[in-house]
Symmetry: C2
Subunit: 152 residues, 2 copies
Amino acid sequence: MDLYVKNEITIGQLSARTGVAISAIRYYETQGLIAPNRNAGGQRRFPRSDIRRISFILICQQFGFTLTRIRELMLTLPNGRTPTAKDWAKMSVGFRSELDAKIHTLQKMRDNLDGCIGCGCLSMENCALYNPTDSAAENGTGPRYLMGDSPA
Amino acid sequence: MDLYVKNEITIGQLSARTGVAISAIRYYETQGLIAPNRNAGGQRRFPRSDIRRISFILICQQFGFTLTRIRELMLTLPNGRTPTAKDWAKMSVGFRSELDAKIHTLQKMRDNLDGCIGCGCLSMENCALYNPTDSAAENGTGPRYLMGDSPA
DNA sequence: ATAATTCCTAAACCTAACTTTAGGTCAAGA
DNA sequence: TCTTGACCTAAAGTTAGGTTTAGGAATTAT
């Protein structure tokens, strides 16, 4: 009755719908990523919109975001009421460009790696693409050219 | 003298060139990702090609590979001699398509997420894009539509 | 009404990927 | 030579992101 009237789901149902383990869902709660209600008996009852929240978490993880960062992102969503399209859109300002940047970086790395493998520079002492004149040391740390710096 | 003749670098130099902490480099050795030589005094001496190996590790990590997987990938590289272009190319068979697939997945997620945010479906009960007729439960677990399944 | 499920908490445990610490050794330059 | 900075090992500690266990309470099915 409770479930029907309030249109809420149990932790088992949320787990089945998202593929996320019950223990993980409880863990997400401890990390402030979701905040389910409780029924009279103390059991968790989740709004259906939490299926979307969980999906969002999974997607963000694929992009390499930590749970801490994901919580920050979701903090801009309303706490009491169900988020509207406007709420999500507001949150996604800047987020979309973060995703774009991440994809861009990966593409760049893939292409450079591809180029380097093609010419053998990943294995050779003097590769114009990767490290011309072997002077990269002066420019600081990191695999700078493959990561995005231009070999000046 | 040793360094000049053998053209090897110290762990501090490798750290400076890659931006990877000395402790991490030692850790990579325990994990079988690199296998430096030792000088008479027992100190590590790295071939310059290990700069590329470290760069490769960093790139793979950005793509979400574990060190275990990365070690597997690099196992196809020769152990004794410096890898040639052909060696790297051989290793990259299949690898390139893994990278492509990863990028593809992220693009798909970004686009679907974008669409969902645009129409508000991440917050609404009945969204044709995300979960038509709310019957996704029958199709198994996971945030299936956002992750790639088509909504039938 | 009772049995089988599902759920609860708290605390311990786990893996990956490192870092820190402690107590020394090696190497390079003045 | 001697001193200072770089390096060594082994072992313990750390953080993220969970899972497992133990002991019990709530719910659902028969």
